[in-house]
Each structure stands twice: as C-alpha cells, then as structure tokens.
Symmetry: C2
Subunit: 306 residues, 2 copies
C-alpha cells in the first residue's frame, strides 16, 4: 500500500451547495457569497456554489439567480469552476441567464432512491439529464455528473456495480468531463472502494472520476486512502463538514474538507489549499449557522486558536 | 493495498482508564464497574480498567483498589485481560494486593514529554519500569508496554524511530507480551504508519505490537487502515471516543472503538465484539458524564435508535 501516491490531488468543495442545502437556518445571500469567496481565496478552484431548483423545494437555494450574480462580481469564473446543480431544463435556463459556466447533473444507482429523491426511475432521470446536457453543450458549459448511492442505498441496501458502469458511460456520452461517485449514506468501506476502482478500470480511466465520501460512521478518510492507493486523484468534501446526514438526523454527513486536506498535506500530497484560510472560512459560516464543526481537524484548530 | 487483510483483529479497549482519566466529572465507582462489565459483555476481552496512581494526581482513578475488588466479582479475570496502569513499585504493590493479573507500564520516545508527564528522563523511566517488571514477573503478572509520542511530540515535534526501537527492545527484555505505540497528539499519517511498520520489521514481528491512534484531526481510521495493510493486527481504542486531547482543550482524542469496529466488520474482519452492546455501554457512560459522543458511528447509531 501507498507505494505510489500522487503528488497532487484535486479537491472539489461542495459546502455552499451540498453542505448548506439541508440547513434549517436560511442564510442571507451576502453571507453565502462571502463564504464562497473565502473558499476560493483559500485555494479551492472547484466549488459547488448553489442549485437552480424551485425555492419551495429547497429554500436555502431559493436565491440562486441573484446569488450567482453576486458571486460573478467577486470570483473570476473563467479561472475557477463555480459549479451549479441543475435538475432540469427550467433550472438550466435560469442558470444560463445567471451566467453559470459549470453545471452538475445527478442520478443514482438505486431505482428507489431516484424515485424518492427526484420522482423518476433511473431511465427517466437519464432522459432528463440527456436533454439538459444537450442544451448545456450548445452554450459551452462544463458538465459534472453525480451518481448517488454507489456504495449503498437507504432503501435498497446493496446497489449494483453494473448500474454504476452503465450510468458512468451515459454521463460521459452526454458530455460530462467528470463523474462523482457518492457514498450517499456513509456506508462504504475501504475494500469496497478498491472493488469499485477495479470495476471502473475495466472500462475507464480513474482520472475521470471523483470520490464523494460521507463520514457518517467515521470511515470517510480511510475510504479516501483506499481510493488514493487505487489511483483516484479527485475527492469531493465539504468545508467544516457542513451537511448532516438526511437519512439519520443528528448524524454527520459529508467528509470535512479540513480533515481531507490535513491528511493529504501530512502525506506530502499537494492540494493548493491554505488550511488556515479554509478553517477561517468554515469557522465564519458555522458561526452564522450556530453550529459546531463536525470536522475533527477544525475542532483542534479552533481550540488552539482560542 | 488490502490484498491481504487479516481475518481477525484484536481490539484493546482503553475507555475506562485512558478515556475517563481526564474527565472532570468524577464518576461513582459503581458506574465505572458497570461500564467495564458492559464492555466485557460486548465481547471486549482486553480492557484497560484503571490506574494505580496517587488519588491527588488523577482523582478519577483514586478508587482503583476498591474498584478492582468490585470488577473481580463481576468479570472473570482469568479469561479477560483487565489491564491496570502501574507507574511505580508503590502502584504495583497496591495492584497486586487488589488481585490485578495484568499491568501496563509506560514511557515515551520524547525526553521532554517524559519529563513533563512523569518527571523522568527516558532512561530514568526505563529504570522504574525495569524494577516494576521484575517484581511483576515474580507474581506472574502479564505486562503490557506503552510508548507514547511515537508519531510526534507536543514539545519536541518529530521524534526518533531509533528511540522507538530501543524502547521496544527494552520493554520486551523486561517481559512485556506486547508494546502499544501511541500517536499521543493525533498527528500521525498513513505514510508514517507504513514507515514505522517497516522500521519495526527490521527487528521484530508486528504481532507483538498494537497501534494506539488518536483521532484529534480525524485521521485515526486511515492510520489504522495503513497499519492493517502493513500487518498490524491489534489496535487500541476507546468506547464512545472517551478522552479528549489533553494538549488541545475542546479537541477530540482517542479513536472511538465503535468507529474502529464498524470499519473492521464492514471490511469482513472479525473482532468478536457486538457493536450494539458496545454502543449501549458507551451511551450509558456518556450520559453519566453529560457528554456527546465523539464517535461518528455512535452518533449515527443513537440517531437511528431515537
């Protein structure tokens, strides 16, 4: 193990969208823009900024159009990927009007999860994504694909590697530059990560994928380590560990960017991220939410600073 | 990586001693005995029970003699290792009178840490340990050795692998059946764990060692994974993640036994521990301390049960 580790790893920050979307405290738009700006200033070049969804469905993201206007004024979106989630053509239209350059589309390996999450079968979700991607390509947008429940589903349990392969192929066919594989409920283990990597390698190169691990049971970094060892060089994470587990209230969700970056740096892997600046950004937004960090690194950092 | 993982791993539970010793809430002796009993019932066969130190130094351990009397009445100490920390001959005398069968002795790879922790140089600590072990062997006690600050020291920073090797050799010479290597401040990384393993292998077999990782920065399970891959098959951990980091108030400390066991089981590795019973035990003692779990697995388990 660890005989060949990469010299550089790319970290995709999902805090402002995936992290904040389930937070009950609706933050002022300006706070979210400040947060995104601070994350970019900390060196994160791929940041999920918001989601172009119906405000009545996800109130925290209801200000997407105006928020993105403000973001554009403060962040150079030609040099940084400010990714916005787009569920359908209506969302895409709004995103294009707001000047978005990079979008994300999403599906899942589980029929049941897709039905409950987006009220569509897997095939129906692919039809929607296909239409969105076709239009997005006309406007020259970058497309990131998400596949949820790759490592397990809250409704179906074990999910299929074959479905993961089929969905990955479709997403690349539709024009995605990258596919992010999600451990939506935080049940992955390092052996499973190895198995997923070996399966992907039968048809793809791992540099087309990112691992999106959840830390619900504390195993996210061990899974990242297994992924690194297999050849993944891109990982999603959320500043301060923002974003609880929607399937188990009180439990933690996303892997914290601080924990990820600390481990990578301590192993001699470069990320381009300034860990102190990142910790400042997370501390700022957590204070506005009135929440304690679920990042262990950040807790240690905060306790040393006080 | 992970081409050869062990079928079985031994987990050494340190919660009742290492976990509780820095807790300000002094628990009734009976609660601690109940806790130890529950841990053994959950399948943990190696449990650090208490410390035979001066009550004015560590008030939480001030009841060691009476506590061990009670423990003996409820736990079969011929079938389970109930390990008690012994700092000197006076402590050993008390432990023997109480009927203790297994002791732990401790030193560190850092001169400065030893001076601040036990007011002795490394060589002076070895003299003390030598005297304790000589006497302990006369009484047929099992001896476990601890080496702290193997992966870094709060005062000296980087510590020496050469010192780790020398101390390990001494502890085995004194009669230790096992040496536990501590990441006292939670700064280890997976590459360093590999380097430590490779160094140990130049003179020892890894089955004579246990890894005692701290989760202060969230990296403990990744370090365990690296250790597993190198050939370690014994790990120390603390129920519910009991025990903060004494060098950074507010930060977390010990690796949580629940997180460790969950990862091992999910990888198909057997431990003999019932995770539900363990979670019950931790929930019980955390409620008595009025503390929230620092184990992410336990948080998820508690949220599902509620």
């Amino acid at each position: 193990m660890l005989n060949t580790i990469p010299s550089d790893v790319r970290v995709v920050e999902v805090g402002p969208r995936d992290g904040l979307q389930n937070e009950k405290t609706i933050l002022d738009q300006q706070l979210k823009v400040d947060f995104i700006h601070q994350l970019v200033e900390a060196g994160l070049k791929d940041v999920e900024a918001t989601s172009f969804v119906r405000a009545d469905k996800i109130p925290q993201m209801g200000d997407a159009v105006h928020l993105f206007d403000d973001v554009k004024a403060r962040v150079d979106i030609s040099k940084n990927k400010l990714i916005c989630l787009v569920p359908n053509l209506k969302g895409l239209e709004n995103a294009i009007q707001a000047g978005v350059r990079d979008i994300a589309v999403f599906t899942a390996t589980s029929e049941e999860f897709n039905k409950k999450n987006i009220n569509a079968t897997i095939d129906e979700s692919l039809e929607r994504i296909s239409a969105v991607c076709e239009e997005a390509k006309k406007h020259g947008l970058g497309i990131r694909g998400y596949i949820s429940t790759v490592f397990g589903c809250p409704y179906e349990g074990k999910t299929s590697l074959k479905t993961m392969m089929k969905l990955s192929e479709k997403l690349f066919d539709f024009g995605a530059y990258e596919v992010s594989l999600g451990d939506t409920i935080g049940v992955a283990n390092p052996v499973q990560v190895k198995d997923v990597a070996r399966e992907l390698l039968t048809n793809f190169s791992l540099d087309k994928f990112s691992l999106h691990m959840h830390d619900t049971r504390g195993t996210a970094l061990a899974n990242v380590l297994s992924g690194l060892d297999e050849g993944f060089t891109s990982f999603d994470s959320s500043a301060g560990g923002l974003g609880g587990c929607p399937y188990a209230a009180g439990a933690t969700g996303n892997l914290a960017t601080e924990d990820l970056i600390y481990m990578l740096h301590s192993m001699g892997i470069k990320t381009g991220v300034n860990l102190d600046k990142l910790s400042e950004a997370s501390t700022f937004i957590l204070s506005k939410l009135g929440r304690k960090s679920s990042s262990k690194y950040l807790l240690a950092w905060q306790s040393k600073r006080n």
